[in-house]
C-alpha cells in the first residue's frame, strides 16, 4: 500500500503571495478613473497658462502678431483643443473646490464649520472673477 505523502512543512515564515499592482489599476473603477482624470486636468491648466503667455507675447509684438495668433486660435484643431481644455479646467476647479473642506478645518465658536460654508466661497469667488473677466472682454 502506498504511503500518503507527508505534508510539506514550511518553516517560519510561510510563503506569502505578493500580488502585483497592474499598470491599469485605475481602469477598473470609476472612482479611480476620476482621480486620474483629476490629475490629468493639471496638464490642461498648464495649457491655459501657456495660451495666456502666448497671448501676452503676441500683444507685446504688435497688432499683426496678435491677428496671426487669433487666426491660429480659429483653426478647428485648436478649437477642439480649447473645448477639451475648458472641460478639464472646469473639472479641475470643481473637484478641487469640493475637496477644500477636507484640507481646511475652520471652527466658529468651538464648532467646525459645515463643508458647504468652505466650498461656497470658492464658487462665489469663481463666479465674481469670471463675471469681471467677461465684463472686461465683452463691454
Amino acid at each position: 500500500m502506498q504511503q500518503p505523502k507527508p505534508p510539506i512543512y514550511t518553516e517560519y515564515h510561510p510563503r506569502w503571495y505578493r500580488p502585483r499592482v497592474s499598470v491599469y489599476w485605475w481602469l477598473g473603477q470609476w472612482r479611480y478613473m476620476k482621480f486620474i482624470l483629476r490629475e490629468l486636468s493639471s496638464v490642461f491648466v498648464a495649457v491655459v497658462v501657456a495660451m495666456i503667455l502666448l497671448q501676452l507675447r503676441a500683444l507685446r509684438s504688435g497688432p499683426e502678431a496678435y491677428a496671426r495668433l487669433q487666426h491660429w486660435l480659429q483653426i478647428p484643431v485648436v478649437i477642439a483643443l480649447s473645448v477639451i481644455t475648458l472641460f478639464f479646467v472646469v473639472f479641475h476647479a470643481i473637484t478641487w473646490f469640493n475637496l477644500t473642506p477636507r484640507a481646511m478645518v475652520i471652527r466658529w465658536r468651538g464648532k467646525r464649520l459645515p463643508d458647504f460654508l468652505l466650498t461656497a466661497p470658492n464658487y462665489a469667488a469663481w463666479i465674481v472673477v469670471s463675471g469681471a473677466v467677461a465684463w472686461l472682454v465683452l463691454r
Binding site: P7, I8, T10, P14, R15, W16, Y17, R18, P19, V21, W25, W26, G28, Q29, R31, Y32, F35, E39, L99, R102, A103, M104, V105, R107, G110, R112
Partner: protein, 259 residues
C-alpha cells in the same frame, strides 16, 4: 428572494498553490446575515480549512477586513442582502495590496511597523506627578482629535489607497491619521518627533489625495482629511521657519500649552 447565495472565496495555500484561486460555495441566504456569518457557515459546515480573521463581529476589533465584490469592507458589517440583486454572487478576497498568508488572511507586519514609526502614543514634554491631578481638556480640545481617535486599525484604507500599492514605503492613511490624533491632543508635545516621519516624501507628501481611504473607512475617521490638514500645517511651519527662524526655535522650546 433567493434561498441561497453564492460565495466565491479566494483560496491560497502557501504549501500547495503558486497563486490564489477561487472556490465557490452555495450558502443559505438569510436577511440578517452578514458576509462573516456566511464565511462562518462555510467553515462550520462545508470546509473547515477556510482561513480568515475575525473576532468581535461588531465593527470594533477591525480584524475581519476583506475585499467584498472588489470593495474593502468589514465582513461583519456587510450584509448579504446588499448583494441580493447582483446575481446573488458575493466575491470575497483578501485585502488588496497586502501579502497573503493563507486564504483571506493578510500579513500585517509592514503596517504595524509603520504604525509604530509614527509614535501613536502621548509624548508629554514633562511627566507630571499623579499629585498634579487630572489633565483637563475642554470639549473643543477633545473635538480636535476625537474623530481621528476612532481608528480601529482595520487597514481598509490601505486597501483603498493606490499609493500604498504603488509605493510600499508610503506610511499610509491610518498611521498618519493616528499620528494626527496625537499631534492634535492638547496633552501631547510629540509633534516635532513625528514630523521627522510625516513631513517626508514617504509620509504626507506621498499622498496624492485620491480620497478613497476616507470613503471606505467604517469609523468615519477621514484619513485623507488628516493628511491634507497636516500638509497645510507642515507648509505653514516651513514658511514660518523661513520667515521667522527665531520664532520657530522658540515654539520648539516652548512646546504646547497645557489645558
Amino acid at each position: 428572494m433567493a434561498d441561497n447565495i453564492i460565495l466565491e472565496i479566494a483560496r491560497y495555500s502557501p504549501e500547495r498553490d503558486s497563486a490564489p484561486t477561487f472556490q465557490t460555495f452555495e450558502v443559505p441566504f438569510r436577511k440578517e446575515w452578514v458576509v462573516l456569518d456566511a464565511l462562518n457557515y462555510v467553515k462550520d459546515k462545508m470546509d473547515g480549512s477556510l482561513t480568515y480573521r475575525w473576532s468581535c463581529r461588531m465593527g470594533i476589533c477591525g480584524s475581519c477586513g476583506m475585499m467584498v465584490n472588489g470593495e474593502p469592507k468589514l465582513s461583519c458589517a456587510t450584509f448579504l442582502s446588499s448583494y441580493a440583486g447582483n446575481g446573488n454572487k458575493v466575491r470575497v478576497e483578501p485585502l488588496r495590496y497586502f501579502p497573503i498568508v493563507r486564504d483571506l488572511v493578510t500579513e500585517l507586519s509592514d503596517f504595524l511597523g509603520k504604525l509604530k514609526k509614527v509614535k501613536p502614543w502621548l509624548i508629554p514634554k514633562q511627566e507630571l506627578p499623579l499629585s498634579a491631578g487630572e489633565f483637563l481638556q475642554t470639549p473643543e480640545q477633545l473635538e480636535d482629535y476625537k474623530q481621528f481617535s476612532m481608528c480601529i486599525n482595520c487597514t481598509l484604507c490601505y486597501s483603498a489607497c493606490p499609493v500604498v500599492g504603488l509605493d510600499p514605503t508610503f506610511v499610509g492613511p491610518a498611521a498618519i491619521a493616528l499620528a494626527q490624533r496625537y499631534n492634535k491632543d492638547s496633552r501631547d508635545q510629540g509633534a516635532e518627533e513625528r514630523r521627522v516621519i510625516l513631513a517626508h516624501p514617504e509620509g504626507i507628501w506621498g499622498c496624492t489625495f485620491v480620497g478613497e481611504c476616507t470613503r471606505v473607512c467604517p469609523k468615519h475617521v477621514d484619513p485623507a482629511g488628516a493628511i491634507q490638514q497636516y500638509k497645510v500645517d507642515a507648509a505653514l511651519e516651513w514658511v514660518k521657519g523661513l520667515l521667522m527662524p527665531w520664532g520657530q526655535r522658540k515654539s520648539k522650546e516652548g512646546g504646547r500649552a497645557a489645558a
